[in-house]
Symmetry: C3
Subunit: 270 residues, 3 copies
């Protein structure tokens, strides 16, 4: 169980941000075709290096040398599905931290079965909205598509169960993000609604979590740090944007510009 | 036959815009890999919810619960091809309105054959440029790739024939968009050249048409409304942009900000 | 061997830019799923017409009528792999210039074998970073993913060997781009670091090279022109941007706005 206070999390997050930029972790993203470009640009902006190696026979070997891996089920075509299992297996063997984002699971059969198969490979981090986390835990029927129909707090039981059964950190996105290792629960209350008005707002956060996870074995701390940096940057961007369109470039600029001092001043972690 | 006057179309379009935002229709987009991100962001900006469920066994069941479906043939890989037929069939059975965008058909064999197969499933709306609509009606040889080599008026006979034979609304894009149900012809003269200077300008409009189609059974009215909102937003955006690059975020902002009053003041419908 | 002086290259580049805009070459891009949208928008902004025809049975016939073809190995799924070989073969037969971008080859097995197969089809232009060009020549082990771990000058021997053995122009990207036909070596020193802080900066240049290659049989001159226009536009954009996010729309605007006069004033070619 983590014994960090909220203030510890803020200062750790700031230190991890500096470390990320000095180490430029290589993040393999096997993600959906809607958000590939945005995800790669988010990683570059924050200071990581993206690589989308998503075909069988390449995905596994690459996962062994990558700093972190994201497996996102948004558009699970046959080749990437095979690559996901290969990458997750190899990551587990090699000690590469990997993130599972079970996009829109619940009633859709292919991704729901795949998510269970991947969960059994014990992801280091599970990231999703409340509906998805509840569905992954087998406690509900899932939402309609990618909508977050439930409050993150409603998924706390599901998140805790997954964390304890599979040894994963579970991060549930919402107005306040809820992150747990099965014992401690950390809440990050930064962010902006416009992050939900552009596609990939949640998906790209999963890639950022994979990058931060490579920096320290305290996965609760790195997941909190990724969330805090990402959502504080969203707040900074919103003040420069006129709508969801101008929010995207402003957000990438903010991810590039946000520093430890700003993070310390603005992060709201409880 | 619609008996709406142009002024009726303007006021109906304004009312439908408000309705779209209150209902947030869920639009399933099986579209090409070039425009997935832009299409999703267009739908979010205008007030709809995007979902790209594009694999066999998931696409059909999802089309039954979606508000509307877009089937766009821009990059017709094998899995999405199967998903398109599955989704169109399920949409037809469930009464979910669906849009066919026969991108670049004519001489390219796979998509041309697929477009005919899908046309026989009687799409609620067909959207394309003049070349594509002429090719779909079997009246010409198609253009070079995605270029609009013909004036929309030149496709009016083809559009009318498709509308009458398959019960579809047919919308032909150009400087003035021509939309017909086989009897009435409505022309929308808003828009901006920069909409043709970014990829996906036409493709994303198809997704917006699918969203509006879920709001009312008068498919001519909803297709006109989608076109008017989309092209008026383009005009608003062009005045804030320095070129095609800055046009994209400005356009997404405008889609988010355009309201019924602005639409009533600016829509040019004949 | 080219006998152009650097000043000849500058004036030729300016003339080719005007010619590109008057001819609007049709560029078929079989590229990776991360950069499709950006690549298409770059082509449109600069004045070319993009088409992504990337499936077997369509890719070959289309390559015969396209002005130029890009084959980029970033995410080599099975269908595009087959389409790449088909398109490269057809392009070679039809005299359509084509560009090979061997993204991240070296240790990744599928793309490395595919790159060698495609190289044997004698691409008109090979574009890559130093690691990739060295790996393609069989002289090194490749980098980690898409990173440019070597200076372009370190790949000059590899570039020269490929150029002589396969009759290709070889362009190596870096702070100074090095371009050779196996005899002459031209260096273009424009550009901006932010071009490496967004995904697809190199990939889209390959598509631009394919467009310029359609304008003249002097492929060294057209490749230098594509590089100069592209990197000068990046410089112009950087002065209008706050970070990598706002750089993207500014870059597309600059590609649209850059003219022969600006190019003559700013291009640094040696």
């Amino acid at each position: 169980m983590s014994i960090r206070t909220p203030q510890h999390h803020v200062s750790t997050s700031a230190a991890l941000l500096d470390e990320l930029r000095s180490l430029t972790p290589l993040v393999q993203s096997i993600t959906n075709v809607v958000v590939t470009n945005f995800t790669a640009n988010v990683l570059l902006a924050i200071g990581a290096a993206p690589a989308m190696v998503d075909i069988p026979t390449e995905a596994g070997p690459f996962a062994r040398v990558a700093s972190g891996v994201l497996v996102n089920l948004g558009t699970p075509h046959a080749e990437p599905r095979e690559a996901m299992v290969e990458a997750a297996t190899a990551a587990g063997q090699a000690g590469t931290p990997w993130v599972l984002d079970p996009v829109a699971i619940g009633s859709l059969p292919v991704r729901t079965a795949l998510a269970r198969e991947l969960l059994n490979l014990r992801p280091d981090i599970v990231r999703g909205n409340a509906s998805e986390v509840i569905a992954l835990a087998g406690l509900g029927g899932g939402g309609r598509g990618v909508d977050a129909t439930d409050d993150p707090e409603s998924a706390l039981e599901a998140a805790t169960r997954i964390a304890r059964d599979y040894g994963s950190i579970v991060a549930v996105s919402g107005a306040t993000d809820v992150i747990t290792d099965g014992d401690s629960v950390v809440r990050v209350s930064n962010g902006h609604l416009w992050l939900t008005a552009v596609t990939g707002g949640g998906c790209a956060l999963g890639a950022v979590m994979a990058g931060f996870a490579s920096l320290d074995d305290d996965r609760l701390a790195t997941t909190v740090a990724a969330t805090a940096v990402y959502t504080v940057a969203a707040e900074l961007a919103a003040s420069d944007a006129n709508g969801p369109g101008s929010f995207v470039p402003a957000f990438l600029d903010s991810l590039h510009l946000v520093d430890a001092t700003t993070l310390r001043a603005r992060a709201v972690i409880a």
